[in-house]
Each structure stands twice: as structure tokens, then as C-alpha cells.
Symmetry: C2
Subunit: 308 residues, 2 copies
DNA sequence: CACACTTACGATATTCGTAAGGATT
DNA sequence: AATCCTTACGAATATCGTAAGTGTG
């Protein structure tokens, strides 16, 4: 017996209409096909569900028993299919994204807005974590994808470069270098005191790698860009931030000057797992990312130049 | 989309095995047919449930969602089918019977025993009520059928005569008529004092109709045969009972003498409703009734003659 | 005799298994 | 090269609709 949705729908229709012709219409079938469908159901179950005489159609007591079952089973099945259909048209589902804090506070909100306008019912889970955590979450397939710094990744991780962001020297308007329009990294190294970030930070890692084997004349080490912004605004030192982070400094009216580092740019990538098939929703979000990320970052950069 | 049990079974098998070939075997299909079945399911839902590459089969996130649904829906559906299958082989279901008290206390137990031996899991509901109530319960289709006295029934009731039971004069061994081997109804009428039954009793109704327009010289009117048995045993009078009721008197060692009445016999019938389609279980019980009732009654009769 | 379900039947669609094709490790 | 899924294809099966058959009120 291969009970199908059609069987249940036909049965329910007939149980309610108690008339083959009308029930058949309801199911968009000819009366003959409908009759065969009911007969097939009865055969499959091995018992009569309806007592027919040419004038009336009535449920047998086995039919009553089946009706009780179908009354709960049919709506559940219909609901299940509807849920899947909704998923298919991106009415439901969720996308889990890990992203660097700088991305979360700069570009991501605009991308979310775009995505949400198109797919208002998709749930988004955003985890703003350090680069290493981003990678680890993707490796463990706990997130659909990550937006993080591009680093060499072997194994089952797939990296897709989105854009690269540049670095800026940020200082108080009364800082000795405040009047410069462009700086080299050697000039920056001599700008004492300098505020650097925690070792776990991808900015710090990138800069360490970029400037090696030179040493930073650090004076402060902070965890968040906003802390650095406060220190710089108070005239306690200067700092270096990627374009993705400049906005935090713009509000204080600080000087923002582009730098040329040996590794001038930091690659930003979309990182995903080879064996985590993206859901339709995730695929849709990734598409938004691919289409807009580079442009948004460029806008941030020109904005930083203008304000600096 | 016509979701079927096969779809769900195939999906569940594949989700668990994560391998088309093995899942196909589990479903007793060739791998190719199984593949088509899954493809059909995915097409119907409008989305991919599995991410295949030649080495691995994995659920997509939509597949995970569907798995959650199927994990509850499939067992429910299977259980529903099993219940219906059980009904078909009389492993489940119930039979509701209304029957006269005399039948309930005489023949019915043996029939129940037979039926129960063949169908141990069928629930039986027995209502021992007066004839009028039997008829009314069947008319209202509240019972599968009734075992009661045969009376003219019009409309939607179907009467099937099973047997006819005879009447016996029952008296104390020291009663003046105790030595007789056979009595006529006129002799019985003069046997004073006589114990009769309540107006609602079908025995009383039958006798009233049978003896009309003569009058009973009644001395006591009781509701139950067992009460009458007590009175007769105490030497307070004689009574008239149908064969179905004699057993209650045999235990007291009373004399049981057949009578010839103008309407010698009382028909016992199986009464059912034209439009209450009997369940398989009810049909099975009715069959037992048809096969055994007359024989059982005959046995009671010869037994009564022997003991009388 | 009229209505309502069943049966008959040819056309169409689906599903099956065998066998070949293609991709990944 | 081996494994494993998909595709191709002819045969078997199921389902459809039209139309005729059947039985009950």
C-alpha cells in the first residue's frame, strides 16, 4: 500500500461530501477516475471505507476509524508540504553568518537590509567574531559561510575573494603627521605613540605580518576599535585601521591618511565549507554579498579619503 | 505534488544511509528507480534535498528541515496504516450488541467465547436490555445489531430470524401438575397461583398476545426470571418461561414442562439497521450468531426436556 | 426513468529494471 | 581503476477521461 496525499484528499473530500460526483469535482477529477482512486485506496487497505448504494454514500465503521486518522494526518502532511514550499521560495529558512566585527559594523548592515527587503521572512544569525573563530565555525560547518580575512586555507574550506581593504593612519588633527596626504609604512612606524590591537585581532596579525621584521613602538594595546578611537580623540596616540574600520573614527573628526604598507591590502573573503551545501536562502545571501561587497567597500574608502 | 508513503520511506532511507545504492536495496528498488524516486520528490517539492557528489550524499539544509518533518510524519502514517491493516484482519475494532437479558444469560456467552477465540482483540460491548430498547438502539444505529424477539418492524430495520423458542410451565415438584409430560395453554391458565412478568418484558408481551382474550390468574408480578425462580422454588406458585430462560430454574430442581400455546413459539431475531453497514468485526460476529444460535437453542431445549 | 456509482476501454503518463554514461577519489 | 550517482530507453504498470453498464429509489 502506497498511501498518498491524493488518497487522503480524495478520502476526506468524499467523507465530507458523501457524494462521488461532487467530491470528484472538488479534487479536479472525473467521477470515474475518482471512483477508481477510492477503490484503489480501499484495495490497498484491504477493506471497504464507504458503504455505497446508488442513492447514498456512507462511511463504514472502518471508514470512520480511517477518518479519525486522516483528520489529523492530512492537515499535518499539507502543512509539511507548505513549509517546504515556503522554503523553496525563500519564505522561511535561515542563514547563519560569521563575520569580522569590522564587517559587521560597516558593510554588513547594508547587505542585510538589501537581503531582508527581498526575503523578509528569512532568519539571519550573525556572529561577530575574530577571524580565527570565523574560520573555525565554517570548518565545523556550523555557519553557512563567513566574511573574514583572506588567509591560506587548505582542506575542505572554499575561499572566494570579495575585495581588499586598505589601511589608514588615524591621528588627532594636532598630530605632527596630521597634515600629510599620504604616508609610507616606515613613516608610520616612527609615529610614536601608536595604539595597536590585541594579538587575536586580524588587523594586528595582518600588520605584524606586513611589517615584519620591524617592530611597532606600541604604547597601548586595545581590543576594540571604539576604544582606540577614544584614545586617539583624547590625543593619547595614533593608530592604524583598515578601511572597514574607519567609520568609528570619523565621528570624532580625526585625520585619516592612507598608508602604503609592503602588503598594501588585506583580502576580504567569503569563506565556506566544501561539503556544506548552501541552502537557497544562504545562496541568495551570498549572491547579495558578491554583488555588493566590493562596491560598498570602495564607497567607504572614498568616503574615508574625503573626510580625512 | 503528490507526496506518498514511498517518497517518505525513500527519503528516510537515504537520509539515514546517505548512499543511494544501499538505501535503494532497503526499499527493494534498483538504484536507478530509487534515484528517480528521490528526483521526483525533489522536483515535487521544488528544491534539492540532497547534495550529491559521487563520493558522498548529504542533506541540504532544506533536506534537514524535511527530515525533521518526516521523522514525525512517517511513523504516524505507518502507524495509521497498521491500524487499518489490523482492522482488516480483525485485530482491532469493536462490536456493539444489544440483546435480551435471557439471551445474554443463556446462549450469548457461548457465542462470545467462540468469537473471542477467533478474534481475541476485538472489543465487545454488550447491552442487556428489554426488547423495546433493543429495537430502539438499532433504530438509532447506536448498536451494530440486536438479538431480540421477532416483531414486525417496518422502515429501515432489517430482521433476520434465527430461531424460535418455546414455552415451558415451571412448577415445584409437589405442584398438582408436576407429573404431566405436556400441557395445553388452557390447563396452564387454570394453574393458580401463577407468577408473571413485568409489562415491559417481552415474555409477558408475547404471552399476553398469545393468550388474548383470556385472563391470567396472576398472583405475583416480578421483573426478573431469577426472582420468579425463587418464588417457584419456595412453592409460592408456578410460572411460564421460554426455553432461553429455563436454565435459571434448573438449578432449583423444579419441574419444567413444555406447553402448547396458540402462538406456540417466540421468534428470536438478529435485528440490524439497513443503513448501518456492519464493520468487518460485526459481520464476523453476526456470522457466528447465524451459524450457532439455532443449534444452541435446540440444545437448551433438549436439556430442559431432560431435566424436566 | 433518472440519478449516481461502477465497469470497459483506449490513450497517456509514470515507474520499473537493464545498461551505458559521467564524475570524483 | 573503482565507486557511485545520473541518464537513456524499452517494457510493464497505473491513471486518465469518454462512454456504456447497472442498480436503487
Amino acid at each position: 500500500m502506497n498511501l498518498s496525499l491524493r488518497h487522503m484528499r480524495a478520502f476526506a473530500a468524499l467523507a465530507s461530501a458523501r457524494n462521488f460526483t461532487r467530491a470528484a469535482e472538488e479534487c479536479h477529477l472525473t467521477q470515474s477516475a475518482f471512483s477508481a482512486l477510492i477503490a484503489n485506496l480501499e484495495d490497498g487497505l484491504g477493506l471497504k471505507l464507504f458503504a455505497r448504494n446508488t442513492r447514498n454514500v456512507d462511511l463504514t465503521s472502518e471508514g470512520e476509524a480511517f477518518l479519525n486518522i486522516v483528520k489529523s494526518l492530512l492537515p499535518e502532511t499539507e502543512r509539511a508540504l507548505e513549509m517546504m514550499r515556503d522554503q523553496a521560495v525563500l519564505k522561511r529558512g535561515k542563514v547563519a553568518i560569521a563575520a569580522l566585527p569590522t564587517i559587521c559594523s560597516s558593510i554588513l548592515p547594508a547587505l542585510i537590509e538589501t537581503f531582508h527587503a527581498a526575503h523578509p521572512d528569512i532568519e539571519l544569525i550573525i556572529e561577530d567574531v575574530a577571524n580565527a573563530t570565523c574560520i573555525e565555525q565554517v570548518r565545523q560547518r556550523r555557519m553557512d559561510f563567513a566574511l573574514c580575512a583572506a588567509t591560506f586555507q587548505g582542506g575542505e574550506l572554499v575561499m572566494e575573494t570579495l575585495a581588499s581593504d586598505r589601511f589608514h593612519f588615524v591621528c588627532h588633527p594636532r598630530h605632527p603627521l596630521a597634515g600629510r596626504r599620504r604616508l609610507t609604512h616606515t613613516e608610520v612606524q616612527q609615529a610614536f605613540p601608536i595604539i595597536v590591537y590585541d594579538q587575536a585581532s586580524s588587523i594586528r596579525q595582518h600588520l605584524d605580518a606586513a611589517i615584519y621584521p620591524l617592530h611597532w613602538r606600541k604604547s597601548y594595546e586595545v581590543n576594540n576599535l571604539s576604544s582606540a578611537a577614544g584614545l586617539v580623540a583624547a590625543g593619547l596616540g595614533a593608530t592604524i585601521v583598515p578601511t572597514l574600520g574607519v567609520r568609528q573614527f570619523q565621528v570624532f573628526g580625526l585625520r585619516i591618511i592612507p598608508i602604503d604598507l609592503p602588503l598594501e591590502r588585506r583580502g576580504i573573503c567569503l569563506l565556506r565549507h566544501k561539503h556544506r551545501e548552501p541552502s537557497l536562502a544562504a545562496a541568495a545571501f551570498m549572491q547579495v554579498v558578491r554583488e555588493r561587497f566590493a562596491r560598498e567597500l570602495e564607497a567607504l574608502y572614498t568616503d574615508a579619503l574625503a573626510s580625512g
